[in-house]
């Protein structure tokens, strides 16, 4: 039996709770119902909003699955039941949701992927702050570290991303009228996330992101300025990027006609996550290849401590989840010199740009001993090296 053609994904993108994403999604669902399409609601979060609830009238609901976890009962989307029912279109609220431990899949976006793979079309909602590559910028803007994130490649799989827009003023009004949250929650929200400047900045980010998604739908392959079409890199093919399968991205070509390749240096330091997000975002916008390496030192007294090894492995996995080819590299071949190992690896693989974290604050030790970052900048002076800012608050 041949697998069904994958379903189409439509995302309603907003910038805060209460902008009307779910309302607009349900409005479209009602229109599809009127057209006689086979549509069901797989998951809906009413939040006690009367006008939104009214929009579900006449729609078929697939009952939620009840899950017990640590003595409490949670309700999750019943993906198996939806697959069995196999509608033409399924409405799934709150795309970035994390399922209760013990569920078949960790994230709702993975459930959605299962529906799409089965040939079911999906309508879903999300806010811009849940996009993985913007996590640090969102933190910088709002002071909130968003934990539930969606990798960018998942969003790129969407056939349509639609901006649901209202002005921050109207949103604050809705909040004050108690449309969005209960009175107490509204007060906290107004003091934090719902400040006018925060909302304005998130709104701008959302508009730019939706414009970017729209562009990648119609963009022509980038013209090669000189030297003919560059071959697609071997690692880009190997990583089997599903987004790449659906929409072949135009390769990025540097002014010299070389394919742009970005290499991220991963370390045990927590700043690695920031570097990975930023580098991947730049690579996506430039249609450049992107890979990551961490250095492993196996000789004698220079062996990496166990906690560090675990942190490195965690960061490499984080990169892999974002569809970055991430590897552990042995420094032995480069005479146990990690900086040299990175630069040589970059040179052999035709890397045009290296991404590193900012060096730790230089104390006395920093003055006496150059860190790996400065050594790389110096050894890699024939390539571009980007030192990623620490996008923290204050």
């Amino acid at each position: 039996m041949t697998p069904p053609a994958p379903g189409k994904l439509k995302i309603y993108m907003g910038y805060a709770a209460g902008v009307g994403k779910t309302y607009q999604m349900l409005d479209d669902a009602q229109e599809l119902l009127r057209q006689g399409r086979d549509i069901v609601v797989g998951y809906f979060e009413p939040h006690g909003r009367a006008d939104t609830i009214a929009k579900t009238e006449g729609l078929e609901f697939v009952p939620r699955r009840r899950v017990e976890y640590r003595g409490s009962v949670f309700e999750e989307m019943d993906t198996d039941a939806i697959l069995a029912r196999h509608p033409e279109v399924c409405v799934v609220d709150e795309f970035p949701h994390t399922n209760v431990p013990g569920s078949a899949r960790t994230k709702r976006w993975e459930d959605v992927t299962a529906l799409l793979d089965a040939g079911i079309n999906v309508l879903t909602t999300m806010n811009i702050q849940h996009l993985e590559s913007l996590n640090d910028q969102v933190w910088q803007i709002s002071g909130v570290r968003v934990r539930e994130t969606i990798p960018d490649w998942v969003v790129k799989q969407a056939d349509q991303v639609v901006m649901v827009d209202v002005t921050p003023g109207a949103l604050v009004n809705r909040l004050l009228r108690g449309v969005v949250y209960s009175a107490e929650k509204s007060k906290t929200a107004l003091e934090n996330f719902f400040q006018e400047s925060t909302l304005g900045a998130l709104r701008e980010l959302a508009m730019r992101q939706v414009a970017h998604e729209s562009e990648s739908h119609h963009a022509e392959p980038h013209r090669v300025e000189s030297g003919g079409a560059p071959a697609r890199s071997s690692w880009a093919e190997k990583r089997g990027d599903p987004a790449g399968d659906r929409k072949p991205a135009a390769p990025a070509v540097s002014p010299t006609g070389r394919q742009e390749r970005i290499l991220i240096l991963v370390t045990a330091d927590p700043s690695s996550a920031m570097v990975i997000r930023r580098a991947k975002r730049v690579a996506d916008y430039l249609h450049a290849d992107c890979m990551a390496v961490a250095i492993q030192r196996s000789t004698g007294g220079n062996r990496v401590a166990v906690p560090d090894r675990e942190a490195i492995e965690r960061h490499l996995n984080f990169a892999r989840n974002l569809h970055i080819d991430a590897r552990l590299l042995d420094a032995d071949a480069a005479g146990d010199d990690p900086a040299k190992a990175v630069v040589e690896f970059a040179r052999v693989n035709g890397v045009t740009q290296l991404f590193l974290a900012r060096p730790q604050a230089a104390g006395l030790a920093g003055i006496l001993k150059a860190g790996i970052e400065q050594r790389i900048v110096w050894l890699g002076r024939d390539m571009q090296v980007t030192i990623v800012a620490d996008r923290t608050r204050g």
Binding site: Q137, A170, S197, S254, I367, Q384, I387, A389
Partner: protein
């Protein structure tokens, strides 16, 4: 970066005073912006009018594009409409009646329409300005193809020339702007001019127009955000828009840096700034090299800035933070021997001082 609340400068206090004053005596302007007919601008405008009327505000419809869709017709029945009047065979908004009726809110479609000679104002957007000056709030809707400054861009996509337009500054002056977005396919359904064979081409055109509308709205929001922060004395840079600062000297490989900066700025739809810090007298050879580099920057469409300062790193950092730069490009040759002591060298100092800004070091 945490917004720093500091004492406001007299200029900022004046800005706020002016804004508050304007709020008291002027009606507020809200604009629904769409990228094509059929996205639902008029519907959103009228729907907001309906909701406000239901909340007890005094709302009238000043003008609406006809023929209207069934949805719009339904809404119109629930609102008070002041019919257009005919002037020399041209339909115009009935300004004398609206001004006399003096509602709290007036809904206005078709902002770009020109009025015939003998009207109060040459075009409808100027009518709107008069309504605002008379303390009537206006909710309007417009399609991006009618914005003057976007004309050439839109014309390239559609191949159609639009004679009547609204200046961009009018939209920037709006109190609120809302993007009305919908997938291009929806507009195809509504537009009616989708000849079967041309659907693909049309969908592509619509998608390009949609991108322009979203980016235009993002720019307006950026502008509003900036003035909000200024009025409230908040020094903050959110990095919502990529701004790339390329620092050049007579000796930098300026071409590679400017080309790369331009490509990055284009892909991110951001801004490209090229700066040089003036330091003492240059010999004729360096002078000529620098002039060539600056010329290149101009040709790349960069905003070129000559900075002053005894300490070039300090000058670059101050400028970068003030302009909300997100990436600084520098040449390796900015210094010699700095790699020995990260703390002492200029590039090292730049990296440490560049709070919240990426630094990209280029080969020399």
């Amino acid at each position: 970066m945490t917004p720093v609340i500091r004492r406001r400068t007299p200029e900022e206090l004046l800005l706020q005073a002016q804004a508050e004053e304007a709020r008291e005596t002027r009606g507020r302007l809200k604009i629904f912006l769409g990228y094509a007919s059929g996205v639902g601008k008029s519907f959103r405008m009228l729907d907001e009018g309906r909701r406000r009327a239901e909340r007890g505000q005094d709302v009238v419809v000043g003008s609406i594009q006809l023929p209207a869709s069934p949805d719009v017709e339904t809404l119109l029945k629930r609102l008070e409409v002041i019919p257009l009047r005919s002037l020399g065979g041209v339909e115009v908004m009935d300004m004398p009646t609206i001004l006399k009726r003096h509602p709290r809110v007036c809904l206005v479609d078709g902002l770009a329409w020109d009025n015939p000679p003998g009207s109060m104002n040459p075009s409808r957007w100027q009518d709107v300005r008069q309504l605002l000056d008379s303390d009537i709030a206006v909710i309007a809707s417009i399609n991006i193809q009618y914005i003057s400054e976007l004309q050439s861009q839109v014309e390239k996509i559609t191949g159609k020339h639009v004679a009547q337009t609204v200046p961009q500054s009018f939209l920037y002056g709006a109190d609120e702007i809302v993007v009305v977005d919908a997938p291009p396919e929806m507009c195809l359904d509504h537009s009616g001019h989708g000849i079967a064979g041309d659907q693909g081409k049309l969908a592509r055109q619509l998608s390009e127009l949609r991108e322009i509308a979203l980016l235009f709205a993002a720019d307006v929001v950026d502008h509003q955000l900036e003035s909000y922060l200024k009025q409230n004395g908040i020094a903050a840079s959110f990095g919502t828009q990529e701004r790339i600062l390329v620092c050049i000297t007579p000796r930098t490989s300026a071409k590679a840096m400017i080309d790369s900066g331009k490509r990055n700025a284009d892909r991110f739809h951001g801004e490209l700034i090229v700066a040089h810090v003036r330091q003492g007298q240059l010999d004729p050879e360096d002078r000529a090299a620098l002039d060539r580099n600056l010329e290149m920057a101009h040709n790349a469409g960069a905003d070129v800035e000559i900075l002053e300062g005894d300490d070039p790193i300090e000058a670059i950092l101050e400028f970068a933070h003030e302009r909300g730069v997100t990436q600084v490009f520098v040449g390796h040759g900015l210094e010699s021997k700095w790699w020995h002591r990260w703390t002492g060298g200029p590039v090292g100092r730049l990296i440490r001082g560049a709070q919240g800004i990426d630094v990209r070091v280029f080969p020399q």
